[in-house]
């Protein structure tokens, strides 16, 4: 299958207009020694029908949340995606456009991003949002670079309740930026006691944390501010109908994995990096920002603004190297948040919390199964302590039709993280309990 539309006559006429004899002549400036003197070692092209068949057979070799009951979380969640989200975000005027450099031809995506920024601010109770970053982990790395601006304040303190994958990404980015994230321990699954000295740039807390536990964020951030450090919170956007928002908890910068906002699981991406902060950070905020303005006739319109922060203007002095971001996911998030509204968001949060509480209650009735942190409050996810290695248990449950959760990495050798979204029914939760009982018997 090919998409170039040229007929042989077209090719002939165009070569003639250019004054060349053959297509090979178009490449004559490539020095002979570096040319590829053989065909590519790839299969022949195929028809559309054949590629669909090929991909269907690959897809059939996966067992997705379509046929396994999904209790897996750990940063990506099987929430329901209403049809309207991708019916709209999937309109080709959105998905086949480029970054809106010509605003007169891009008002659709620009206004959608303005609305996205507005809703993220409402959600987080913070003053300003950018137009998206890659994902939650890289958004955290960007937040750290935003927070590390005061000379002498270089250290980055991270709660052990932050997902280890986020910390790994920070460690990678830190090698270039010149910091090594320092992890402070939790007490009984939350809190901890970061020592915020005069050399600390920021304190990072994830709430709910990697064990699903709700953190004493106000206390941690209060201590961080007393020590003069900036505060960064990782949050779950769908928790914010029921949980206090980062802005109320003392977060200077709030970042999130926005997959839950209308995006499918997609085996890890494309997802959405959400970032909101206080207005005083706006001139160093990474990524695109859309602003409202007027045209020459005084009509309201939208443009990319504060571009002097960005790589295409600022080059090596830019606050970030980000160029292409996750705009389409931000458009989908906007539609999804519009679909939920304040009441739907709160009700969704209550459903997840109720179902997670019910699941925790009946799963811990199984002999040998207990909560990793009994009594600690959680939202839609909790860690179970199992009598057998969790990966083994999880694999056995796959055979019974369940994706039971995500085994937590060392030092948590016996913990399985279980997430319960609004999609899980009582029957499925009880089915998991039954299957787990059998597996452990």
């Amino acid at each position: 299958m090919r998409y170039a539309p040229h007929t042989d006559d077209d090719v002939g006429a165009m070569l003639e207009a250019i004054g060349l004899a053959s297509l090979d002549d178009l490449f004559s400036q490539i020095p002979a020694p570096v040319r590829l003197h053989r065909p590519l070692d790839l299969p022949e092209g195929v028809s559309e029908q054949e590629i669909v068949q090929d991909l269907k057979s690959l897809a059939a070799r996966n067992r997705s949340a379509e046929d396994l009951v999904c209790f897996a979380g750990g940063g990506a969640y099987d929430h329901f995606v209403p049809s309207v989200v991708w019916a709209l975000a999937g309109r080709s005027e959105f998905y086949t456009s480029y970054t809106p450099y010509q605003p007169e031809l891009s008002q659709g995506v620009l206004q959608a991003l303005f609305e996205y920024q507005s809703m993220v601010c409402e959600l987080t109770a913070l003053e300003v949002s950018n137009a998206s970053l890659y994902d939650g982990s890289t958004a955290l790395a960007e937040a750290v670079s935003l927070a590390r601006t005061t000379p002498g304040r270089d250290r980055v303190l991270v709660s052990a309740g932050v997902d280890p994958r986020h910390i790994e990404v920070l460690r990678t980015f830190g090698r270039g930026a010149g910091y090594e994230p320092e992890v402070f321990a939790l007490r009984d699954g939350r809190g901890g006691d970061p020592e915020v000295g005069a050399d600390v740039a920021c304190v990072i807390v994830q709430h709910p944390n990697v064990y699903g536990v709700l953190e004493p964020v106000r206390e941690l951030f209060g201590a961080a501010h007393d020590g003069g450090a900036a505060t960064i919170q990782l949050f779950d956007p769908l928790s914010l109908g029921v949980l206090a928002p980062p802005g109320d908890l003392g977060a200077d910068i709030a970042v999130a994995e926005g997959q839950v906002l209308g995006n499918h699981l997609n085996f890890g991406g494309p997802y959405l990096g959400v970032m909101a902060t206080r207005l005083d950070f706006v001139r160093r905020l990474p990524g695109r920002i859309v602003g409202e303005t007027v045209d020459v006739d005084g009509k309201v319109g939208y443009v990319l603004t504060l571009q002097a922060r960005e790589q295409h203007i600022r080059r090596e002095k830019a606050t970030s190297n980000i160029c292409t971001n996750q705009t389409l996911m931000a458009v989908a998030a906007t539609v999804y948040l519009g679909w939920l509204g304040p009441e739907g968001l709160a009700e969704l949060g209550r459903r997840c919390a109720a179902k997670a509480a019910y699941a925790a209650q009946i799963l811990t009735q199984i002999p040998g199964v207990e909560l990793r942190f009994p009594g600690a409050p959680f939202f839609k996810e909790f860690a179970l302590l199992l009598p057998r290695p969790p990966a083994e248990v999880r694999d056995a449950l796959v055979d019974r039709g369940f994706l039971a959760g995500v085994p937590l990495p060392p030092p948590e050798h016996h913990s399985l993280l279980v997430a319960v979204t609004e999609q899980r029914t009582r029957e499925e939760i009880e089915g998991l309990a039954f299957a787990l009982t059998q597996v452990l018997a």
Partner: protein, 489 residues
Amino acid sequence: MGAPVRRQGPPGLGTLKDLSRPGRRAWSLPALDVPPSTMPAAHSRRQPPALPEVAERDLVTHFTRLSQLNYGVDTGVYPLGSCSMKYNPKVAETVAALPGFARLHPLQPDQTVQGALELLWRLEGALCELTGMARATLQPPAGACGELTGLLIMRRHHTERGDPRRRVVIPDAAHGTNPASVRLAGYEALHVPSDARGMVDVGALEKLVDEDVAGLMLTNPNTLGLFEEEIQAITQLVHGAGGLVYYDGANLNAILGRCRPGDMGFDIVHINTHKTFATPHGGGGPGAGPVGVTEELVPYLPVPLVEHDPETGAFRLETDRPRSIGRMHGFHGNVGILIRAYAYVFLHGRDGLTEVAERAVLNANYLAQRVKEAFPLAYPDGRPMHEFVSTAAPLRERTGIRAMDVAKRVIDLGFHPSTVYFPLVVEEAMMVEPTETETKETLDAFAEALLQAAQEAESDPDLLHEAPVTTPVRRLDEARAARHLKLRW
């Protein structure tokens, strides 16, 4: 001729908030089938977020109308130079949406994701064949992140050898992400000028490259759309001083099947899937920025990497790679985009991909030929590859009309304009990349529009000063947007 007749665009749309009415809703949820629970009061939200309250009907109309204010590749030719806005095959959307991919959780056990891992493995193999690299990571979610990945690999290579270096050389015409990535990787950017032919000034490069230079980043064809003819001398020069050479894959689409970065002497390559493999750009993402490396650098690739056991036929995600630079993304990158890239690569196959490059270069050269009298090539001695850089400087000299005015007039004539004012090294630059998927008729019509604009610049310049007049909004006050920040409702 008098003042242009101003055609009224559609009336402005309010925001979704303007449609909000208390109690209106679009959401639905099944009845609660478990006992309700309550959040501890200390953690509860007191004030609900002021999200809009709208009906589903409102959402559909609002976002449909917004989409209609947007120009996409599906609307027509989108000749933004350096952006490669080619047609995005619909089948790629179909296959990426298959539930066996779309509903796959990233932390499932390997035995439940064999199809996805095999897809990633095959795609990696194809990318290595196309670039002449040994292995590749598919994790970076966009080209700029690929650049940082490659530079961190470069950094690890030098530090492991006990030879940390401080600088990376970049051509003055480079895309802004290059210097920004260099700084994020902890290096200082050194700029090498272009010579009179629009290519790297090899003499100047020779003076810059020393034992403190970690490497060189280069696009080839370069940012001016020209093939660096002295590429072998350049890569040898950098290697001779112990540096590595990084290939910015922004223009890989021009050389598919004709030559490969690995054969030119590059050590690290990133690919922008939207430019080379027609994954849709989404109005600013999602992208994907796979990075390939030579055998020597494979140990540094990010974790996890897909591995294949030829004996059992099983695929797995390998995380135990002690010399790896680490993780560049929370999960496995933008897999949904990589699936689209896979579909594109294997639909075209070996001859189809070679033809992609041929037709892209043919279209660019044909269009350059059609417009060069009005908009001369910035570097007329070189043959453009898949894109060309013209200049409106002579037009400006004669008429005062600038490249941006031409771009805005082209909008009124029914087209998306080219990139303007990039690369920064060309005065009144107009960077045009028609891509291989446009017909000769479309190229002719676009050329006519450019020529008409040039002619009107002489005869009726107000048409250009006033343009655009046919769009939903006219020229917007960007200075005001930055001065009086309004970033939310």
